[in-house]
Symmetry: C2
Subunit: 284 residues, 2 copies
């Protein structure tokens, strides 16, 4: 039972498709067929039922899946740990909210690159909910997300304290619809609860994909947005925006650097923790 077969099996089990798995595994589809067949030949039982809609896992496959989902992360964790100990930095797969990425990460990542020049760093942006899900599925190693964080599933250290402000067009200072990220964004949740408490629960909400886009629309007077002040300050057109602090319980939001509770941080990860710790200390 080779580890590549297990990995392929899990990939197919998750995607429920041989062809999708082939893309995920960066190989041609016939390889997936061949690997799954090898696995089935070795175990003497089919693990997928192939049919019209793709591949559905069999009952026996479920048993294999339980074992595979236990074994593979252990294997990967061991390998990461060994490579890290050998000085071969494992890639640090980072996640961050788009606002954090815009306002906070440039300086942090620059410092991190100096501390760990050999560690490849990748960044994936998304709302808090999506990032937590990526963390849980071990697609990323650590992420900057808005608190609070489930302490039973994640470890975290405080990273930044953000001040939420209401951004409106300076020229045309009337409120309109709320321009927000898609669901899962914690700032949007904060904005919505403030609106509710303020008796404005019928405010129209327009979802947009990028922070730049939202601020552009605000600048054009299309509506208002709620975002961390630090992020808005990075916007090139910040001068034509009217910023107002939110009232007390909604104004201040803490961003945490978070990772799975059973994830052993690599050297680069630890360095990042130190960096945000220092950063927080000097800013307070």
């Amino acid at each position: 039972m080779d580890i590549l077969l297990l990995r392929t099996f899990l990939s197919v089990a998750e995607t429920e498709s041989f062809s999708a798995s082939a893309q995920e595994m960066h190989c041609v589809q016939s390889n997936i067929t061949s690997r799954i067949r090898r696995l089935e030949a070795h175990l003497g039982q089919p693990v997928f039922e192939r049919g019209r809609g793709g591949a559905r896992i069999t009952e026996f496959g479920q048993l294999l899946r339980q074992h595979a989902e236990d074994l593979l992360p252990r294997f990967d964790a061991a390998e990461r740990d060994l490579l890290d100990a050998a000085g071969i930095s494992a890639p640090l797969r980072l996640g961050a909210m788009e606002t954090t990425a815009a306002a906070r990460l440039p300086s942090i990542l620059k410092a991190l690159k100096q501390l760990c020049p050999t560690a490849p760093i990748s960044l994936r942006t998304g709302p808090t909910g999506e990032l937590l899900s990526l963390l849980w599925n071990r697609k990323i190693d650590t992420a900057f997300v808005a608190s609070p964080i489930d302490e039973n599933r994640f470890h975290s250290v405080p990273a930044f304290r953000e001040h939420l402000v209401l951004a409106r067009s300076a020229a045309n200072n009337q409120t309109g619809p709320l321009l927000a990220f898609r669901s899962g964004c914690s700032y949007r949740a904060t904005a919505e609860s403030w609106l509710r408490s303020d008796g404005k629960s019928d405010t129209e909400i327009i979802e947009m994909g990028t922070f730049e886009g939202i601020l552009g629309c605000v600048e054009a007077g299309m509506g208002f947005a709620i975002a961390p002040e630090s992020a808005i300050r990075t916007y090139h057109g910040v001068g034509s925006l009217n910023l107002t602090a939110l009232p007390a319980p909604y104004a201040s939001v803490e961003t945490h650097l978070t990772w799975r509770i059973d994830h052993k941080p690599s050297h680069a990860h630890q360095a990042l923790c130190h960096l945000v710790g220092e950063n927080l200390a000097e800013s307070s």
Copy 2:
């Protein structure tokens, strides 16, 4: 990082020798060299220092060893479980004391073969101490050993109650030296403590390798032996032996079927448990 490399690594780490590992892994020595080099190339660090006396593990190798000793047994256990669930019986590696093997196993194994015709069964005989060590190192799956058993490390079910008897030559009924197995045999330990309690602690002990050999010597009047009555009854020359029961605390010894506490029993293993359970019930 392939699993074969890890297995080879552990084999070398245990034997501290590439050539010995090659024998253990049933391949030529150059393969071991090549696998360890592959492993080292992947991890970027040497895991063994090669030199005069063979291969000594490096500090980095120790870290790898920790991971490997955690991962490999998990892998093997998962594979056994899956094959077992698929109806492909994993080989049942059995251990037993020589006396148990002679007196009890023939009928038990015959019944087991009928219940699990496809399960390959292998048997390794040795004294209790050696069998427990084999169990602990996962070289065998389950073994018949003399109680008591460390319940923190092993599970067990009672299998047989043996009655220890003193065997002497019927013709020349004088005591001489004690003919016993090599150290580690629990019957020998019982015999020695009985001799001590009886004030005969200076009795000469001659070690022999096989049960047949011991009884042959006893029959020839060379000395006496202590063994389970059931085992002695299988000896072809039992008619010319004089058997005497041992006094109370030493007479009765229980044999248990034992396995590692973290070892998930296969179907064949469970069948064996049932068999010895039935056997014990009808004999009592």
